[in-house]
Structures are given as structure tokens and as C-alpha cells.
Assembly symmetry: C2
Homo-oligomer: 160 residues x 2
Amino acid sequence: MNTTTEAAVQLAVAAWHSQNKRMDTLLSSLTDEQLMKEIAPGKNRGIYLLGHLTAVSDGILPLLNLGQRLYPQLDDAFIKNPDKSDLPMPTISELKEYWNTVNKTLSNHFAAMQYNQWLDKHTAVSAEDFEKEPHRNKLNLLLNRTNHQSYHMGQLALLK
Amino acid sequence: MNTTTEAAVQLAVAAWHSQNKRMDTLLSSLTDEQLMKEIAPGKNRGIYLLGHLTAVSDGILPLLNLGQRLYPQLDDAFIKNPDKSDLPMPTISELKEYWNTVNKTLSNHFAAMQYNQWLDKHTAVSAEDFEKEPHRNKLNLLLNRTNHQSYHMGQLALLK
């Protein structure tokens, strides 16, 4: 593992942190009332996207073999079902707390990871499949999750 | 430059291609009439975001030292000014053609690039600054542009 690999991995992790920082700034610019609104008529509400992004980030923990989910109870309302399904949801202030805790937990794990670990397989791919598809590694999963977060941040920004 | 660096760089380039493919699918699912609508009341129209993403991707050419802009004339209506500024715009079918040409041109250049070139500085950073901030390289610019595109794709998807 040489320094150029370290540099490439570092960039992807830095991009993840940078998107989280932008999300924190965006969240602090929105009131609870704004977050209860739909991003566009008939579309998801801000609270749903906040819960969705928190649940998806929380899911990175087991996928990267970093530990158990912190808030698996979010899946019903924010991943398995669409918004406005009449399911109980945490408050916005609770969701913001979960969001911060998930990101802090991931940050600590990422800081302790060795560069070469990022090119290991993630846990949702079998050893056999990984041999055929070596791109299905932890770094790729992080790149995908970063883009997924950007996608929904573009929507949340419409609430401003 | 070893194979792990190649792997890390390849993932970032693959993520770029994958976002473009998603954008192509999204574009082909939207009618011209839908693209003329605002993504949410009072916000940017689809046509503006299509022109904006095309102009920003076109701007990657000089930034990565791959050649001149193909459509610098897009900047006025799609980068320097907000939507609904009463500036002349190409038609949606022209913009889609530009979009395809820009992406094809970038793809050809990316395919010809050596892995180590991605860790060189991009053209918007001086040699002195790059020595102090070595992360301001071509790969980082690509990661940022990929996330920028995801951000606006999340908005364009609201037109469906």
C-alpha cells in the first residue's frame, strides 16, 4: 500500500466528511416547521429525508463490519416504507441527535481504519462474488453513499 | 503506481460514469414539457438544471487540462445567472445533444488517462498552493463534480 493509494482513499473519505458538514449546515438553517413540509407538492417531507439519510448512514456500520446498527428501529418508517405511511416517527430533534451520533460513530471508525481495509469486500457481498467483482469493496460503498446523500441534500435544500 | 491505487482511482471514475448513466435514464424518462417546469414552486426549472450540469461538466475539460470548453456560451444563462433571467437558452433537444457530446468527450479522455495523472494538480490551483494542499488534484475535482451532479439529479427527479 503506497502513499498514492492513501491519497486516493483519503480523498473519498474527505468527500464523505465534506458532504456531512454541508448537511449539518443545511440542517441548522432549517426550522422544525420547514422540515415538516414537503420538498415539493406531493413529494417526501424533510423529516422523512432526514430519517432516511440517518438510517442509511447507520446501515454503513454493519456493511463495513464496524459494528451493529445504532438505530435499526428507523428502518420501518424511513427505509421500508414511503413517507406519509402513518407510521410512528421520532421527533426532529431526536432525529438530529441520531444523525449526529451516527456520523460521529462513523468518523471515529473511519479514522481508525487502515487504507488497505477500504479495498476489502463489504459484508453484503460473498467471498466468491468478490473474487469476480473486486470493485464491490468498502471504498465503493462509501462513494455510493456519499452520492446518495448529495442526491437527497439537493432536495432538502428546496425547503429553504 | 500499484494496482491498489488503480483500483481506488477506477472506483471514482466508475462512480462518475454511473451517475451519468442514471442522469441519462432520468432524462429519457422526462418529456420536454416536464423539463420546462419548476422542480418546486418558485425554484429552478428542469431546463436550467440540464444546462447547468452540462456547462459544469464542460468546464471539467480545461480544469483537467484536457482541452478547451466545447460550449462556453452556456455560462451566461446557466452558471453566471440564475434561472428565469430572461437570457436566451438553447432548446431542450439542443441541450441534450450538448450533454451527450460533453460526456462522450470526457469519457474518451478519461479512458486515455494514466492512473497517476489523476493525482496531479488541476489547472485552477497554482503549483505553490498544490505543494501545500496536495489534495487539490484531478481526482478530488471529479469526486466533487460527481456529488454536485447527484445533488441536482435529486432535484430533477422531482419532475417525474
